[in-house]
């Protein structure tokens, strides 16, 4: 596996950890943040952060992987 792919997979683990495996630890309504109960705020926060994680993954691939042969016409 190329180095960039490894880093990219690490970045992509972020939503899985925060939005699936962390759920038992955030399953409560207090404290309210921005008018949302805590668990809902947590989910919204990490859904909104996922594009950043994926963008980081994208940059890692670009930077550390060999350039891919792009089949665009």
């Amino acid at each position: 596996m190329q180095k960039g792919t490894k880093y990219a997979l690490l970045c992509a683990a972020v939503p899985f950890v925060t939005l699936a495996f962390a759920l038992p630890f955030v399953n409560r309504v207090e404290p309210f943040i921005l008018g949302l109960p805590f668990v809902l705020f947590w989910i919204i926060l990490w859904v909104a952060m996922t594009p950043l994680a994926l963008f980081a993954a994208y940059r890692c691939e670009k930077r550390f992987n060999l350039p891919e042969r792009e089949d665009e016409e």
Partner: protein, 477 residues
């Protein structure tokens, strides 16, 4: 005919015209019809994806879940996000294969990778079986919207008939490109409707979002943490469900094929990066459901929560606008579902299975003809057996997710072969049927589909290891 209905039908009519114009001038071949000539850039792919993802279920179903079940509805926010993350890695690989070997459909991929026509035909049939109830759901949603907007003066059946006559015409003439462009109209209307109602109703009734949630907790202390108002949808269920549906999302034959419509692998990656943002408006839909629970408690069917609250709160013309948004939101996914189901039958059941020498023209002709057959089937089911397919729909997501081992392992692992995929798939599907219809869902706190998918992966890997490939991936005669 009241103002709400006039708005709804004008929007449907305009959308159909737009759909027809978008695809009308180009010569239609199979590549154009199904995958838009493989020319879609980031914007069109995003629209196409959004077109398929935001269905009437998002509109009516998510608010219904928030109303009836509470916190378990949060899974809807999560699973798409996980699905896009997965797509970032697997879709570009599938795209390269599609480009290199001219693949158009999901069964094409299975046939190419595993060299087995039988597996391809099987995958095509399973795909169509799960698409039809999904189509029926869209038709039903549309019928409900029009009926509710007309204050029950237009019958459910008439509503379905009129609107889907128009949908058929535009699928027929424009192919996938028409659907992608009508998505623009649909998304703008949907975001406006959801934005206005989602922010509006908590302020109108409670003076703010925080106040609404406080009031909800005061009345229903457990509604906003898992398992909410349900007995068995606890944290473990949510976790297994988001993993299952996240993995299953791109296994829908329709969504899988967006990989082939893109003009480059790069397009797909960029699209995957921005797609999670599209989940955020669902928060507003959920808030409508929560507000409805406080303002109009006691609805028997949660799916009415959104429309009933809008009807109670806003002027009739705005109900028309929301109804129109909902109607187009049913039409676009429906047209895409019909398009793919018909292509699967024409290309992968007829051409692959029965008559490999069929010409491209005859496949296109058949798939256009199948559009009418499948629309007819969906319509007949929606009108005459409104509940007959509810069971199938229940297992739809669980069912298509079972394609996952065959798709994903096939991309990255040489050893896996047709026999292994077939065994895993059959195991997974059988378990889904047994667990769901035997009322064992959730199974030990886990989503039954997740249990089936785990078994499917285990069987696929085990068979790949133990049984050597019969034909070494050579195409079978």
């Amino acid at each position: 005919m009241n103002i709400a209905l006039i708005i709804i039908f004008s929007v449907i009519l305009l959308s159909s015209v737009l759909g027809i114009c978008a695809g009308g001038r180009k010569k239609m071949n199979l590549e154009m019809w199904t995958v838009g000539g493989r020319r879609f850039g980031v914007v069109l792919i995003w629209l196409l994806n959004a077109g398929e993802i935001y269905t009437t279920f998002t509109f009516l179903g998510a608010s219904g879940w928030a109303y009836m079940k509470g916190a378990p509805a949060f899974y809807i926010l999560i699973y798409g996000t996980l699905a896009y993350t997965i797509s970032f890695f697997i879709l570009p690989v599938i795209w390269r294969l599609g480009k290199k070997y001219s693949l158009h459909t999901q069964p094409d991929y299975f046939i190419h990778r595993y060299g087995s026509r039988y597996l391809g035909v099987f995958v095509a049939i399973v795909g169509v079986v799960f698409i039809i109830p999904y189509l029926q759901l869209q038709l039903k949603g549309l019928g409900l919207i029009v009926t509710e907007a007309s204050n029950k003066t237009i019958g459910f059946n008439t509503a379905i008939l009129i609107s889907f006559f128009l949908t058929s015409i535009f699928v027929f003439t424009s192919g996938i490109r028409g659907s992608a462009w009508v998505s623009v109209v649909k998304d703008i209307m949907m975001i406006l409707a959801v934005g206005i109602v989602g922010f509006g109703v908590p302020y109108i009734y409670f003076g703010g979002i925080g106040n609404m949630f406080r009031a909800l907790i005061a009345q229903h202390p457990n509604h906003l943490t898992f398992p909410g108002a349900t007995a068995n949808m606890d944290t473990l269920w949510v976790m297994s469900t988001v993993l299952l549906t996240g993995a299953g999302f791109y296994m829908w034959p329709t969504i899988f094929a967006t990989a082939f419509s893109a003009k480059s692998a790069e397009t797909i990656k960029r699209n995957a990066i921005i797609m999670p943002l599209y989940q955020l408006p669902i928060l507003l839909v959920l808030m409508v459901g929560f507000t409805a629970l406080l303002v109009i408690p006691g609805l028997k069917d949660g799916d009415f929560a959104f429309l009933s609250l809008v009807n109670k709160t806003y002027a009739p013309w705005f109900m028309g606008f929301v109804g129109a948004a909902g109607a187009v939101t049913a039409m676009v996914p429906a047209s895409i579902l019909v398009l793919f189901a018909s292509t699967l039958i024409a290309k992968n059941v007829y051409q692959t299975g029965l008559n490999p020498r069929a010409s491209e023209e005859s496949v296109i002709r058949l798939s256009r003809f199948m559009v009418i057959v499948i629309m007819g089937a969906g319509m007949a089911f929606a009108i005459y057996f409104p509940n007959a397919l509810v069971d199938l729909l229940l297992i739809g997501y669980n069912g298509v997710s079972q394609f996952c081992p065959g798709v994903v392992l096939g991309l990255f692992w040489r050893r896996i072969h047709a026999g292994a995929v077939f065994s895993g798939l059959v195991t997974g599907l059988a378990l889904v049927f047994v667990l769901v219809f035997g009322k064992h869902d959730p199974f030990m706190g886990l989503n039954a589909g997740f249990v089936a998918l785990a078994a499917n992966f285990a069987v696929t890997i085990l068979v790949s290891w133990l049984v050597p490939s019969a034909q070494n991936s050579a195409p079978r005669k």
